[in-house]
Structures are given as structure tokens and as C-alpha cells.
């Protein structure tokens, strides 16, 4: 098989994994918004772990796209798996880049948040704070990805537009340094 690969030089598909950590899947929706270009894209890439394939854990990949910031212990662990498996890791969208909307809880004490939501909030009766070890514990504050691992590229936007994602992916696939021209960099 390896011999064949040497003799018939077909371009190897780029192996891509994606995930949403503390995000809303909006960035993934925006990825799907590249519409009919998905077809040529799938000629060039092969999806590994992703909400789109329902594969949970990535194998070795060329590219990892991560949506969402770090809100809990699982987010951190999954991010590290991605960092280990992906040659190039991309923080996709506002939450991955600066914590985004979830990070607006950062000035609150997480203990008070849990208390209010599960014990003392309006309409809560006989409440308790869930403590099953299956549940990931929230971090004191929500963090951007680059607070924990090295991030190779940042693709801003809430979400990044389909155009920006397309531009970014085609640059990467072509082996160029991704460059978002004016109008494609957006923080909102």
C-alpha cells in the first residue's frame, strides 16, 4: 500500500477534526454555511472526530478546528487531546479566542452561580447541586484556548463568516499562511 502511494502520487486528503467546547455550535453552523462549496471541500479533506461525524476522539490529524472556550475540566482535557493529535490547531470564533459570552460570568463566584441555579433560585424546590463524577466540574473562570495550549491560528468572529472560514481553509489546504483580508476579520 505504501509502495502504491509512492508510485501513484495522489494528493493525500487533509485530515480534519473539529469540536465545540464551551460554544454554541454557531461556528459549526457557519462552517456548513459554505454551502455548495462543501462538496469540493470534502474532495480535499477527510473529517475525523467532529460533531458532523459523531466520532468523539480524534486520531492523528493535520488540522483541528476548535469552537468555544474553556468552561470546565472536560473542555481542558479535550483541548489537550486535540493539541496532541493535530499538527495545526485553530481557535475558531470569539469564544475560543477570548472566552466569549460564557466568559461574562467571570466576575461572578462560581459557587454563588451553582447555589443560585440549583438551590436558591426562583422556583427551585428541594434543589441540590449535582455532584455526579460523570459531570465535568466548572472552572473558576472561563478561559480562551491559548491560556492552556499553543494555538497556531485564530479565526475570529461570532461566528466567523462562511467566507472567512472558506478563505481560511482554502489557504491551509493550499499550504499558504492563512490570511483574512479586510472584511473577513470580524469580532462580532
Amino acid at each position: 500500500m505504501t509502495r502504491a502511494a509512492v508510485e501513484i502520487p495522489t494528493k493525500k486528503k487533509l485530515r480534519v477534526a473539529t469540536t465545540s467546547l464551551a460554544g454554541c455550535f454557531g461556528c459549526h453552523m457557519s462552517l456548513l454555511d459554505i454551502d455548495e462549496r462543501l462538496v469540493p471541500l470534502l474532495e480535499l479533506v477527510e473529517l475525523d472526530a467532529s460533531p458532523l461525524t459523531d466520532i468523539k476522539h480524534p486520531g492523528p490529524c493535520d488540522l483541528g478546528l476548535i469552537e468555544g472556550g474553556l468552561c470546565n475540566a472536560d473542555n481542558v482535557r479535550m483541548l489537550r487531546v486535540f493539541r496532541e493529535q493535530c499538527k495545526v490547531l485553530v481557535a475558531m470564533g470569539a469564544c475560543a479566542i477570548n472566552g466569549g459570552l460564557p466568559a461574562q460570568r467571570n466576575h461572578l463566584d462560581i459557587r454563588d452561580c451553582l447555589q443560585t441555579v440549583y438551590l436558591s433560585g426562583h422556583g427551585v424546590e428541594r434543589g441540590f447541586i449535582p455532584n455526579d463524577p460523570e459531570l465535568p466540574l466548572p472552572l473558576k473562570q472561563v478561559h480562551p484556548l491559548h491560556d492552556v495550549v499553543k494555538i497556531d491560528y485564530f479565526l475570529p468572529g461570532c461566528p466567523p463568516s462562511a467566507e472567512a472560514i472558506w478563505q481560511f481553509l482554502t489557504d491551509i489546504i493550499a499550504g499558504r499562511t492563512p490570511h483574512l483580508g479586510h472584511g473577513l476579520i470580524k469580532y462580532d
Binding site: 475540566a73 459557587r111 463524577p133 466540574l137 472552572l139 473558576k140 491560556d147 492552556v148 499553543k150
Partner: protein, 596 residues
């Protein structure tokens, strides 16, 4: 402690430019400046409330919230730290079960940290309600804690607690040439104002505060400002000796008071000023009363006041201003802002203080040591100074030597003295590094000890802190970055944010939790501060980092773990609040050591 605000305001003539002094008096009377007091002060003084609140918020020693009845501040210079200051601080925190910066629940005591208090030759040191206590030991801490617990009034504390030692270890030209009060003034009057400035210029005297600007040139520019015509001119003595590791002005004011005041008077005569202002840092409370007494003595002796020394029309008097805890006020234009009762933000220049200084009038701002030397030049002439030193650095330099030496103290040398000579005289052994000129100066490694103290080679504002081979240079630099983050005035983006980011990255690196990215960023941030900051503080805040990265690289590398990027925060600790709320302690509720 009833507050008589109108009496305080009246004592300062209702002058809004005395705002910092007024607020200091309010602090003394009440322990804090409460919001209603801020409102009342603003309306009495006819300034906006926000302006008064902004000033209270700017200075470390002014508070709008109550602190402890006994307000303890430990000096946090590296020399205090190396002589066990942090351990003693912890001992006292433990004694009162407090966190750093916290006020005890009964309001009795608060314990915090403050920038270098200028007692590096006799540290660790602290301030209690503004009064300085040096040579701290566990026994002293115990005694102080008992006095506080017993709510003993501070004027009944044993006198020996407040004794400040003097260590003048080596005298040269400045410290050994006697001068009788009035001699220099007489000589200046006899020579004439213009000729006095010429004489100062010819002596090659350069500012001893660090920048090294020609003193004669400065005086000439002030005298010539506004076409040389009549103007209110001012002479300001910069005694805001805030550069960590510097305490020479403390000794000059303690033991050479007349010489300094004589220098100010000579400057006043030369530039045509009627008023002199001393801006003395708050950390030297032991100097206040003697200084005021000395001023009074000189007034009585005709050395200040109307027709000084009988020279008709030469009216000159000196007013004392006390700082309120802000290193940046050592920068001359920030100092002037502070003298005018404002936040100590450095001004845009030009115009320079020599044309538009205090109250927008021509103003000379000189360092304490510069003025003392000027007095001697006035008496003995330019050649007296030129005979000593090097080509571009005439005269001598008074150094404040501290750190790992057998005999810390004041050492005066002719310019050009090799660093090694100072080390030898002070009894330094196994020297690893010397920080010359304080954190904003130059960090010298062991292979650079042949370099010389002079404007041509290693300039120094006076600090000379020695570190032997047992010291962790990263911890030294971390202390300095913490200092700059605390003292940045916050006016410009690069310094305001850059000093804080540097301090955070150094903290991670010292703790062994830093990454290569931190080191790269540290170099970048210091470069940004140097290139784009508003004033000298930001320009120099990165110096210790730049020097350390260049000269003590192995110290950094030793602390790095192999990973390219480490979490910028402690992962396991970040789960602690949620662990507490859920009462979980299972494996998944932790990041184990390998993960963290």
C-alpha cells in the same frame, strides 16, 4: 479623632494646589478620606469632586476606605525580601490571622506591602501609620504585635523602635568639605547671578538624579525663560527618592541639611526665584520635624526670607511638601503636578519645566545631591569639582550600597570608580550581580565588575544593590517587575498594561510555571514599553528583564519545563471553588500533577 476639616483647609490657606498636603492631614486625623469628606473638600476648595477622588485614588498612602487603626506596611524592596522581610510579614499576618492587604474584622490592624521605604541598609523595614521602623527581627515583630494588640498609642511606643541608623562609610569631596551656613550664598551674591550659573556650567555638574542633564544649562534656561524678564520662578528640590535601593538623600537631609538648603538658596539667587519647594517622600517621616526646624533656624539667621544675607531684593523662602506614596513623582513633571495638588501624571514635553513648570512658571527641578554639590561649587568654584572625576562626569557620586555586603551604607567616590572597588570596600563576597541605579538602571553580571560608575559607562542615580551567588536572579527581577506594575501611573497603554503583563509572566517563570511563550512575550512586552511609553518609568521598566534575559539566561532556562505552552493559570486550583460547592473530591474533580 474628630475631623476638623475647616481647620485643616485653613492651615493650608484654602489653596487647592495644597490638596495632597491637605489629604495627608485628613489621613493623619481620620485614617482615611471618607466619601463625604471628599465631597466637602471639593466644595470648599472649589474643585470638582472627581478631581479630589482621583487624587485620593492615585497615591498609595491616601485611602477612601478605612484601613486598620494601626496601618502596617512592609517595605517590599528586594533587599527587604532577601533579608527575610517576607517571612517576617507572614509571621505578623499569622499573628493577626490576616491576608496581605486585609483589615482585621475589629478594624484594629491592616497589614500590607509598600514599595521600597529607603531603609535598605537596615532592613527589613516597615511603616506603621506612616512611622518608619527598621532592622525588623522576629522579636521586634512580636513586640510590635503586642503593642498593637494592647492598642498602645504610637507616641507611647518605645523610642528605640523608631531609631534610624546612619552608615556613612566613605566620604569624598561632597561629604568631607565643610561649609558654614551662608558661605555659599555670600559667594554667589559676590559673584553675581549670571556668573554663578556660568560657574556651575563650567564645573560640568550634571544632575545626580539619574538623567545627568547639565545643571548649569538647566539654571540658565530657567533664568532666560520668558525673555529673562520678571516672572515667578521656582526652585524645586526633588527629594522623592523612590528608586528602590536608594537612600543617599535620606542621609544628605539628615546630616547635610544646611548644605542642601544652601544649594537651593544659591539656585534661587542664580535663576531669580523667590520660592523654593522641597518635595520629600512620605517614607522619611523622621526627617520632617528636623527639616522644619532647620528651615526656621535659617529664617532666623537671615539665610531665608527677605533680603537674604543682606542682599537687597533677594527674597527667598522654602516650603516643604510631603509626597503620598508614588514613585512616578520622582519624574520632574509628575512631581510638579503633585506639587500642584494633582494626580502625579508626567506632562507632555515640550514645554519643559524650565519654561513652564510649577504653576506654569519657569522652574528648576534638581536632585538633593545636585543642590548640595552646587552649594560647594558656589563657594569653591568650578575647578573644585572638575579636579575630581572623569572627563564627562566631574566630581563624585554618593552611592547607597545594600544587599549582600558586610557593610551596607553610604559610599562617596569620585566618578570613574570601578564597581569592583565599591564591592571590595563594602565587603561583598561571591558577587553574582549588582543592580546599579535601581530597577530602572543596569543589572551587571560578575564579568562586568570592572565597569565604572560614570555617565560615560554605568550611570547611577545612587542605588547599588549587591546579590551574591546564593541568590535567585529571577526572583530579583520578579520583585522589580512587581514594583513597576505597582508604580505605573497608568496614563499610557504600553506602561499601564505592559508592566502588569511583565509582572504576571515573571511570577509564572519564577514559580516554574512559565513557558517559552512567556519568555518570548516578556521580551516583546519590554520592547513595546521601551519604544512607546510616555515617560522614563515605562521606558526603563523593562530594563531588569532585558538585562536578565541577556545575562542570566540559564537562570530562566533552569525554571522552564519542557512543554512549549503551559497553562497560564493553575488548573487544579481553578476547580477548587466548584469542588467546594459540590463537595466532590473524586479523580475527575482534580487535575493531577501531570495534567497541571
Amino acid at each position: 479623632m474628630a475631623l476638623n476639616l475647616s481647620a485643616i483647609v485653613a492651615r493650608h490657606g484654602g489653596d487647592p494646589s495644597r490638596l495632597v498636603q491637605i489629604l495627608r492631614d485628613v489621613m493623619d486625623a481620620e485614617g482615611h478620606v471618607a466619601p463625604p469628606v471628599i465631597t466637602a473638600l471639593a466644595s470648599t476648595l472649589g474643585v470638582s469632586r472627581g478631581q479630589v477622588e482621583g487624587v485620593v485614588g492615585f497615591y498609595s498612602f491616601l485611602d477612601s476606605e478605612p484601613r486598620g487603626k494601626y496601618r502596617v506596611l512592609f517595605s517590599d524592596n528586594i533587599t527587604d525580601e532577601l533579608s527575610g522581610g517576607h517571612e517576617l510579614r507572614q509571621r505578623m499576618l499569622d499573628a493577626f490571622r490576616l491576608e496581605l492587604g486585609e483589615v482585621s474584622r475589629d478594624g484594629l490592624v491592616s497589614i500590607g506591602a509598600t514599595s521600597c521605604t529607603g531603609l535598605c541598609d537596615q532592613g527589613p523595614a516597615m511603616l506603621v501609620n506612616g512611622r518608619a521602623i527598621a532592622r525588623l527581627t522576629p522579636a521586634r515583630i512580636g513586640a510590635i504585635a503586642s503593642l498593637i494588640r494592647g492598642e498602645s498609642p504610637m507616641d507611647q511606643w518605645p523610642d528605640n523602635l523608631f531609631v534610624i541608623d546612619s552608615h556613612i562609610e566613605r566620604k569624598d569631596l561632597l561629604l568631607s568639605t565643610p561649609l558654614s551656613p551662608g558661605e555659599a550664598i555670600d559667594a554667589a551674591i559676590a559673584r553675581g547671578a549670571a556668573a554663578t550659573i556660568d560657574e556651575i556650567a563650567r564645573s560640568g555638574l550634571r544632575g545626580r538624579g539619574g538623567a545627568g542633564f547639565g545643571t548649569g544649562q538647566k539654571w540658565a534656561a530657567c533664568a532666560a525663560a520668558h525673555g529673562g524678564g520678571p516672572a515667578e520662578r521656582y526652585v524645586v528640590c526633588n527629594a522623592d527618592e523612590g528608586e528602590p535601593g536608594t537612600f543617599k538623600d535620606r542621609e544628605l537631609f539628615a546630616h547635610y541639611t544646611d548644605l542642601v538648603l544652601e544649594g537651593m538658596t544659591v539656585a534661587g539667587f542664580a535663576v531669580g526665584a523667590q520660592k523654593g519647594l522641597i518635595y520629600l517622600r512620605a517614607e522619611y517621616p523622621f526627617l520632617f520635624a528636623p527639616l522644619l526646624a532647620k528651615l526656621e533656624e535659617r529664617r532666623r539667621a537671615g539665610l531665608l526670607g527677605r533680603d537674604v544675607r543682606g542682599a537687597r531684593g533677594f527674597d527667598f523662602d522654602i516650603e516643604l511638601h510631603i509626597g503620598a506614596g508614588a514613585y512616578v513623582c520622582g519624574e520632574e513633571s509628575a512631581l510638579i503636578e503633585s506639587l500642584e495638588g494633582k494626580r502625579g501624571i508626567p506632562r507632555n514635553r515640550p514645554p519643559f519645566p524650565v519654561t513652564h513648570g510649577y504653576k506654569q512658571q519657569p522652574t528648576v527641578v534638581n536632585n538633593v545631591e545636585t543642590l548640595a554639590v552646587a552649594a560647594l561649587i558656589a563657594k569653591h568654584g568650578a575647578d573644585f569639582l572638575r579636579a575630581v572625576g572623569t572627563a564627562k562626569s566631574s566630581g563624585t557620586k554618593v552611592l547607597s550600597v545594600s544587599g549582600d555586603v558586610a557593610r551596607p551604607g553610604i559610599y562617596e567616590y569620585p566618578f570613574g570608580v570601578p564597581v569592583a572597588r565599591v564591592l571590595e570596600d563594602a565587603g561583598a563576597r561571591d558577587t553574582q550581580a549588582v543592580q546599579v541605579g535601581g530597577p530602572s538602571g543596569i543589572l551587571l553580571g560578575a564579568n562586568e565588575l570592572g565597569r565604572r560608575i560614570s555617565f560615560e559607562d554605568v550611570p547611577s542615580a545612587g542605588a547599588f544593590m549587591v546579590f551574591d551567588t546564593t541568590r535567585d536572579m529571577l526572583a530579583v527581577v520578579e520583585n522589580f517587575t512587581r514594583f513597576f506594575a505597582h508604580e505605573s501611573c497608568g496614563f499610557c497603554t504600553p506602561c499601564r498594561v505592559g508592566t502588569t503583563l511583565s509582572a504576571q509572566m515573571m511570577k509564572r517563570l519564577v514559580a516554574g510555571k512559565g513557558s517559552r511563550r512567556d519568555m518570548k512575550d516578556l521580551a516583546k512586552v519590554t520592547q513595546i514599553m521601551k519604544a512607546s511609553s510616555h515617560c522614563g518609568l515605562g521606558h526603563t521598566a523593562g530594563n531588569p528583564v532585558i538585562d536578565a534575559l541577556a545575562k542570566f539566561r540559564p537562570s530562566f532556562d533552569r525554571k522552564l519545563r519542557s512543554l512549549d505552552v503551559l497553562p497560564t493559570f493553575d488548573l487544579d486550583e481553578a476547580l477548587a471553588p466548584a469542588r467546594e460547592a459540590t463537595a466532590r473530591d473524586d479523580a475527575e474533580a482534580h487535575f493531577n500533577e501531570e495534567e497541571s
